[in-house]
């Protein structure tokens, strides 16, 4: 089966530090992968390179077999906006926007009319159990609620792959598990693959495949 997203021989250096040292990885449609490893092992760098935030110093990333590394900055930006979704630690929502506006933002950026985008965002908030919170701002929600809004935002435009960078890092264990359940369920419904970078073994255990990094290389891959 052809992976929807693949990294081949990925190398990334920061000065003399080898963050990624020849990583090969493939992610299939709808697959859930957890990237784990100690601090400094290259987890976040791998996420950045795979999602097109960073250009690799060596190797290349392919989306549906097309090279991402050769794309311009604006083309990679468009790719992130349309084909990928992101869930960050603490949500990283726009503080001034309401929950529904945050969730609708990718759709609006894609040119969808206001009413349609907001209606779509409301649907996702409903699916994620956030009815009644549509007009609240991030500062008026709990951490778990804000992360659910972030999931709605990540899924609203129906991306191919969702990248989650320590999505439960700022949540307690139970809320983290709930949030992860919501993410996985929503991703499954939309058919999106999920790449989760995490320190939390319990969260990683929810993935079908765990990729453990060490010193910028894949140390081991474990299938659930």
């Amino acid at each position: 089966m052809t992976p929807v997203l693949a990294g081949r021989g990925l190398i990334k250096h920061y000065g003399g530090v080898h963050a990624l040292n020849g990583v090969d990885i493939g992610i299939e449609a709808g697959e859930v992968i957890a990237v784990i490893g100690p601090s400094g092992s290259g987890k976040t760098s791998l996420l950045h390179v795979l999602s097109g935030i960073l250009r690799p110093d060596g190797g290349d990333v392919f989306l549906d077999g097309r090279s991402v590394g050769t794309l311009s900055e604006s083309a990679r930006s468009e790719l992130r906006r349309t084909a990928f979704g992101f869930v960050f630690q603490s949500g990283m929502l726009v503080a001034e926007l309401t929950a529904e506006e945050n969730a609708a933002l990718p759709l609006l950026l894609a040119g969808m009319p206001r009413q349609q985008a907001v209606a779509n965002a409301r649907d996702w908030l409903h699916k994620l159990g956030l009815d009644g919170l549509a007009t609240r701002r991030p500062g008026e929600m709990s951490g778990g609620q804000a992360q659910r809004v972030a999931i709605a935002r990540a899924l609203a435009h129906r991306p191919r792959v969702i990248f989650a960078d320590e999505p439960t890092g700022a949540l307690d264990t139970r809320t983290g598990q709930d949030m992860m359940s919501a993410l996985l369920a929503s991703a499954q419904e939309s058919g999106a693959a999920v790449v989760v970078v995490t320190h939390d073994a319990a969260i990683a255990a929810r993935a079908k495949r765990r990729v453990e990094l060490s010193d910028g290389r894949i140390f081991q891959e474990v299938y659930a």
Binding site: S51, R81, F88, A95, L97, T98, L105, R114
Partner: protein, 759 residues
């Protein structure tokens, strides 16, 4: 590690804190420099007044008084648009003592002349018949700078024989303290207005600079607070971080004050520049301002930490929505009331120069009230765009304006105050121009008129001979100056009148044409005056002191009163009406052409050195100088404001971007185009400016009208002349805001998608 060391470590290791400190330094240095400079204006005016105190006639006595040391006639000439202060002087008694002021080393005896260096150079470079002959005698010395108002002032002191000068007897020239009068009140008021309106953008710049790293600092201090630091330790840390920049700025301003005073001394006012050292403030005042500025800045920084001290948890975790109270608008009402009270006090002339205090406080209060009301307007603008957005950039900007109007308005605050000051200036300038414009005198611009020749005799014949000698094509019109009034109404007005041939007078009098003249005795009156003129008598007028005024003479019966078609300001009496008076002219009006004007002027003042000469060009030159001064002062003030407000808007806009670095990083990571974010940021800055500047423009216009009323009370005239140019500051403010908003772009481009994970 002590609190002090932690604060210093932050400054050493955090480049953004260092940038913030540098900007605080710049803001405080600018603010303190401006205050020291503008506050030194009264000292500068007093220095000028002291240097010219020897010319004041405030110690005049009767010529027969034993205390009289000199007799001095004061006149103002003009040459090539420049005013020349001329003093014809003589000892009051032969061989009598005369006290001299600093800058005048010796008293000019008959046949001797003292000239200022600039006038001496001008005389040297000009043909004598055009200028030098006005100051007959040997140049024995130059007048020193201590006796000159400004370095390039044109001054002549001409010595005469005892008893030949028709002027004021004075008890001496030295040992006098000057009174800063004339247009000094205007400069005093302008500098105070400048201080009030310029200090606000300085404060905004300092506040913007201090806020540049505010979010990060608040989080850092909240974390320290959560880690066990006491409120005092947190406050001390914030104070130390701020005090470094504030003290540095203050020290720079104090050190720069002296060199800057030389620079500001080059700004002309009242016809010339200033002596180095005029613009200096006393050491006590300088020390007071130098200490006050850092105290205020640190105080503001500490006050801004209330949230960190009281609720460290909420600060460390996230931001809460800041609500804005419409009660802020009450500030405008209160400030308006104070300003209104101030204008009432100032226009009623209560309390000398102190009468301006309340109006200046009101002016400052209006500026501050605008800044206070700005966030309310910002929130309203935000609400409008949130309700009507179509594009994400408009949504982002609208939500930001509504969500944190105080922070959003910060970038606009300086611009709003600048627009307020700009529209205030444009409201006032035409009115002030009207105030300083000379009344168009009764004489034609081409005429040079000595309507009272003083003690000089046979002036007409001598003047004609002198003009002929120099082959000057000019006519001399003999005249007798005086007043016409009605004998039946002893409380009725007197009208200025001259006895002169109508056809001759038409050559020198404005508004009178030769076609108005008829043969035979007649009195020529401006249109509309005939009905009120009954039982007329003519009284000779004489401006010279110590002269006897002869008794009035009744107008003979049957003399026709003829209307003048033009707008003449003087009534003309044909010599045939009073042949005996006409036989002894008391004045002489001389016609000139542009090519012979200076030479004719020179001939007149050579013959009549101690009498006042009417000259429209001199008067218009004086008012043009005043207007140039005002325009220059306004341009400098508005230029500084535009610079300061633009800088503070750019710093505030950049600060607001830096504050949200992680959010923007996340948005960029999620594929949001930087151009969309840049557009949203530009709208954030520009939209509130667009609305607030229109309000500020209106406020500036209203306050300008009030201040015009105050200046009206100083000069006695000046009407408000409003036009569409009044909107120019709002347009300029919008452009400045747009330029400042452009600062967001480069800052935004320094962010990368990775920035969401930093901090």
């Amino acid at each position: 590690m002590s609190v002090f060391r932690i604060a210093l470590a932050v400054l050493r290791n955090d480049s953004r804190s260092r940038i913030s400190t540098a900007l605080v330094t710049v803001g405080v240095a600018l603010g303190v420099s401006l205050v020291l400079w503008l506050a030194s204006a009264p000292h500068a005016l007093q220095e000028r007044a002291d240097r010219t105190a020897w010319r004041d006639g405030d110690n005049s006595v009767s010529q027969t008084d034993n205390r009289a040391q000199v007799v001095m006639a004061t006149n103002v000439d003009q040459f090539d648009g420049k005013l020349i202060h001329r003093y014809d002087i003589t000892r009051a008694h032969v061989g009598g003592f005369v006290s001299l002021p600093p800058g005048i080393r010796e008293f000019p005896e008959p046949g001797q002349v003292l000239l200022s260096p600039a006038l001496a150079a001008l005389v040297k470079a000009t043909p004598p018949e055009k200028l030098g002959d006005r100051f007959p005698g040997q140049l024995v010395d130059e007048i020193g700078p201590q006796a000159l108002e400004y370095p390039d002032e044109l001054v002549a002191i001409i010595g005469h024989d005892v008893g030949t000068v028709d002027g004021w007897a004075l008890t001496g020239l030295g040992g006098k303290v000057g009174y800063a009068a004339d247009n000094a009140d205007m400069l005093y008021l302008l500098t105070r207005i400048g201080m009030v309106v310029l200090i606000v953008p300085c404060l905004v710049l300092v506040a913007s600079a201090a806020r540049l790293t505010a979010t990060r600092r608040e989080r850092r201090l909240a974390a320290l607070r959560l880690a066990g630091a006491t409120p005092t330790q947190v406050i001390a840390m914030a104070a130390i971080e701020t005090v470094v920049g504030a003290v540095l700025g203050s020290v720079i301003a104090v050190l720069a004050a002296e060199p800057l005073s030389h620079l500001t001394a080059q700004i002309p006012w009242g016809g010339g520049t200033w002596q180095p050292g005029d613009f200096t403030s006393g050491p006590l005042f300088t020390a007071f301002i130098a200490v006050l500025a850092p105290v205020l800045v640190v105080g503001a920084a500490v006050l801004g930490l209330r949230r960190v001290v009281d609720k460290p948890l909420s600060t460390a975790a996230a931001q809460t929505r800041r609500k804005i109270s419409p009660a802020r608008l009450l500030g405008l009402v209160l400030a308006g009331a104070v300003f209104l009270l101030g204008t009432t006090v100032a226009t009623n002339q209560i309390g000398g120069r102190d009468r301006f205090t309340v109006v200046l406080v009101g002016l400052g209060a209006v500026g501050l009230a605008l800044v206070l009301a700005g966030p309310v307007v910002t929130a309203l603008v935000g609400r409008y765009f949130v309700a009507r957005w179509r594009k994400p950039s408009t949504l982002l900007a609208g939500r930001r304006l509504l969500g944190d109007p105080v922070a959003s308005f910060r970038a606009a605050a300086g611009v709003v105050v600048a627009v307020f000051a700009g529209s205030l200036a444009l409201t006032m300038l035409p009115g002030i121009e009207d105030q300083v414009r000379p009344f168009s005198g009764p004489w034609k611009d081409s005429a040079i008129v000595a309507d009272s020749v003083g003690k000089n005799t046979d002036v007409i014949g001598q003047l004609r001979a002198r003009l002929a000698e120099h082959k000057l094509d000019a006519e001399v019109v003999p005249l007798v100056s005086g007043y016409l009034r009605s004998t039946s109404d002893k409380y009725g007005p007197s009208y200025q009148a001259v006895i002169a041939s109508c056809k001759d007078a038409a050559k020198v009098l404005s508004g009178l044409s030769a076609s108005d003249c008829v043969d035979g005795p007649a009195v020529y009156l401006p249109l509309g005056y005939q009905s009120s003129m009954h039982d007329l008598e003519f009284a000779k007028g004489n401006r010279s002191p110590n002269s006897d005024v002869p008794a009035p003479k009744r107008l003979p019966e049957g003399i026709p009163l003829r209307p003048i078609a033009g707008d003449a300001q003087i009534m003309v009496i044909d010599p045939a009406v009073f042949p005996d008076l006409a036989a002894q002219p008391t004045g002489a009006a001389t016609t000139t052409t542009p090519s012979n004007r200076d030479a004719v002027y020179t001939a007149v003042v050579r013959l009549l050195p101690d009498v006042p000469v009417a000259d429209n060009l001199r008067d218009s030159s004086h008012s043009a100088t005043l207007m140039d001064d005002l325009r220059r002062a306004t341009a400098i003030g508005l230029g500084l404001m535009a610079l300061l407000s633009g800088a503070s808007a750019a710093v505030a806009a950049a600060g607001s971007v830096i504050d949200r670095r992680r959010t923007f990083g996340a948005l960029i990571a999620a594929g949001t185009p930087v151009r969309v974010l840049a557009r949203a940021l530009r709208r954030e800055v520009v939209l509130p400016v667009l609305v607030a500047t229109l309000g500020a423009c209106l406020a500036g216009m209203v306050v300008g009208l009030g201040l015009l009323d105050v200046t009206h009370s100083i000069s006695g005239r000046g009407e408000a002349l409003l036009n569409f140019w009044i909107l120019a500051p709002a347009a300029a403010g919008f452009v400045v805001a747009l330029a400042a908003a452009a600062a967001c772009g480069p800052v935004l481009r320094t962010f990368s998608a990775k920035d969401y994970s930093y901090e």
